[in-house]
């Protein structure tokens, strides 16, 4: 049973300067409940690959299945929630109103919406902030609200594109911990794009190392770390060895240029 199955996925953008190979022959399978991080330098196609899963981009070659369907069908079946780098909350809606937005669009009833909003606010530890406006919350809290919004309609897959990239180290640590907690509680399959080696190693069950020109996977590392991970695990030899492996993978990708 796989949630995401990519086989030789390629995506070429036609630009004025000629074709750009954003993805070339990317093959990967992701099992239910996996936490998969995509790491690599800019231009390696990690975001593009996440977007093809979300049917925000269409591959120009290969096959890609999400929950056994085409990405387009999976999107229509609300298979995933997507979290961007910026929270993207509407300033004219309260936090609860923002979380309610996708539910309204999808046609959930009023009482169902209220119930779901309360549940996801609790999941991201924002209970009591539902009636606040986005500007009344810190950046980290806003991002948690945007994660709650992505969780509200019960998609099995959570796709996160550098969700904590704009936040400072201390807030990021706390949110990483909270994200692991949330993952444990909900059992979602998570695709997570990041620039940060420690973040990728700390969070993931599998780390996909990618490299640019053309965007491709250079290494897939299965994490030997247990699923229960206190922050202190980052000081263990296993963690450091894993980070070392990721770093080597990144260096390998760079040897081309």
């Amino acid at each position: 049973m796989t949630v995401i199955e990519a086989c030789d996925v390629s995506l070429t953008f036609q630009t004025a300067d000629g074709p750009v190979h954003a993805l070339k022959d990317v093959s990967l399978t992701i099992a239910p409940g996996d936490f998969v991080s995509f790491i690599g330098p800019s231009g390696c196609g990690k975001t593009t690959f996440l977007r093809t899963i979300a049917a925000l981009e269409t591959p120009t070659g290969g096959t890609l299945a999400v929950n056994g369907m085409t990405p387009e069908a999976a999107r229509k079946a609300r298979a995933y929630g997507y979290v961007f780098q910026a929270p993207g909350l509407y300033p004219w809606r309260t936090i609860a109103g923002n979380i309610s937005l996708p539910l309204e669009i999808m046609g959930f009833s009023r009482s169902d919406r209220a119930q779901r909003i309360a549940r996801v606010l609790d999941l991201v530890d924002l209970t009591g902030f539902g009636s606040k406006y986005p500007w009344q919350l810190s950046g980290g809290m806003q991002q948690r609200a945007s994660i709650a919004r992505a969780l509200a309609f019960d998609a099995d897959i959570l796709l996160m594109d550098e969700p904590f990239g704009a936040l400072d180290e201390i807030v990021r640590d706390r949110l990483n911990e909270a994200l692991l907690d949330l993952w444990k509680k909900t059992g979602k399959t998570i695709g997570f794009v990041t620039h940060s080696i420690p973040e990728a190693v700390y969070l993931s069950t599998r780390i996909v190392v990618m490299s640019p020109r053309p965007g491709r996977i250079t290494r897939v590392i299965d994490s030997p770390l247990p699923r229960d991970r206190p922050l202190e695990i980052r000081d263990t030899p296993e963690f450091i060895a894993l980070a070392q492996q990721v770093r080597e993978g990144l260096r390998e990708g760079h040897s081309y240029d």
Partner: protein, 295 residues
């Protein structure tokens, strides 16, 4: 973020200074421009004219070339408070005629501008075809269009408010159209991607994202549009036959050389325009603050 806001006195002083300078220049100009007539009259009557007499007479003429500020103020005051508001000499009555047509034209123009903008943003064919015509419509002098609209509609039996409102709408739809096209296109790619990921329909995208995002642009346009609507209405009142409205008041003033009346009507129009723009500004700040979009 907010700069230290100047005190009330600090804000009003510069305005008063400029106002004072304008009044002084105006008085000097009035004396200078009315002096030839006064000298002429004195010469005919073989009277000796002292400087004192000259100044006094130039500022109290019945039909001056340029009326002095206090004459205009008196004319304005008399027009507003000195007449029954049902009288044809009341600026309130004329102002209401103009205001009602302005508001009607503004409403038509705003609705047309928004609808065209929605069409342009959502329909490729309209995107490529409407804008050149909209621009062309604004390059035709309104002074040429207005009489035609009045005459054509009068021959169809339509007179009064509607023809003027059409002319006002002609001028006011354009800023709304331009502002709304820009405003409806402001949502960034990420917001649109989010909507796409939720499988939102076109109308959901419009009501939940594009329309609320466009409101700051809409309000900026509305301020231009309402001033333009007022100009359009007054121009619509100028063609022969109009007997009501500030435009008609301007015209009859110029027929009979009643310069004080012209200036009083002119100031009434300016005050009306300022009040309308301020009203929209007030609604704007109230709405945008409530929406968290205030900048």
């Amino acid at each position: 973020m907010t700069e230290a806001s100047p005190t009330l006195a600090g804000r009003i002083m510069p305005v008063l200074t400029v106002l004072l300078a304008i009044v002084v220049i105006w008085y000097l100009a009035a004396v200078w421009m009315n002096a030839p007539w006064v000298r002429d009259q004195a010469a005919r009557a073989d009277a000796v004219l002292t400087t004192d007499d000259l100044v006094r007479q130039t500022l109290t003429l019945e039909r001056p070339v340029l009326p002095a500020p206090h004459q205009v103020a008196a004319g304005l005051w008399d027009g507003i408070t000195g007449q029954a508001i049902t009288s044809k000499r009341s600026l309130v009555w004329h102002g209401w005629i103009t205001l009602s047509a302005t508001l009607a034209g503004f409403a038509i123009g705003t609705a047309a501008g928004i609808l065209l903008a929605v069409g342009i943003v959502h329909n490729r064919a309209m995107d490529q075809s409407v804008m050149p015509w909209a621009v062309a419509s604004q390059t035709v002098p309104i002074l040429a269009i207005a009489p035609m609209v009045i005459v054509v509609m009068a021959s169809a039996g339509v007179t009064g408010l509607l023809p003027k409102a059409i002319i006002a709408a002609w001028l006011s739809f354009f800023p709304v159209l331009v502002g709304m096209v820009k405003g409806l296109r402001t949502p960034d790619a990420m917001q649109l991607d989010l909507m796409h990921s939720w499988n939102a329909s076109g109308s959901q995208r419009f009501w939940h994202l594009r329309l609320p995002n466009s409101l700051p642009y809409l309000f900026a346009s509305l301020k231009v549009a309402i001033a333009a609507a007022l100009v359009g209405t007054i121009v619509g009142e100028l063609p022969a036959g109009a007997t009501a409205g500030l435009g008609a008041r301007l015209l009859s003033g110029s027929y009979y050389g009643q310069t004080v009346q012209i200036w009083a009507a002119l100031f009434a129009a300016a005050i009306l325009a300022a009040a309308l723009v301020m009203l929209i500004g007030w609604i704007e700040s109230l709405t945008l603050r409530r929406m968290g979009l205030a900048r």
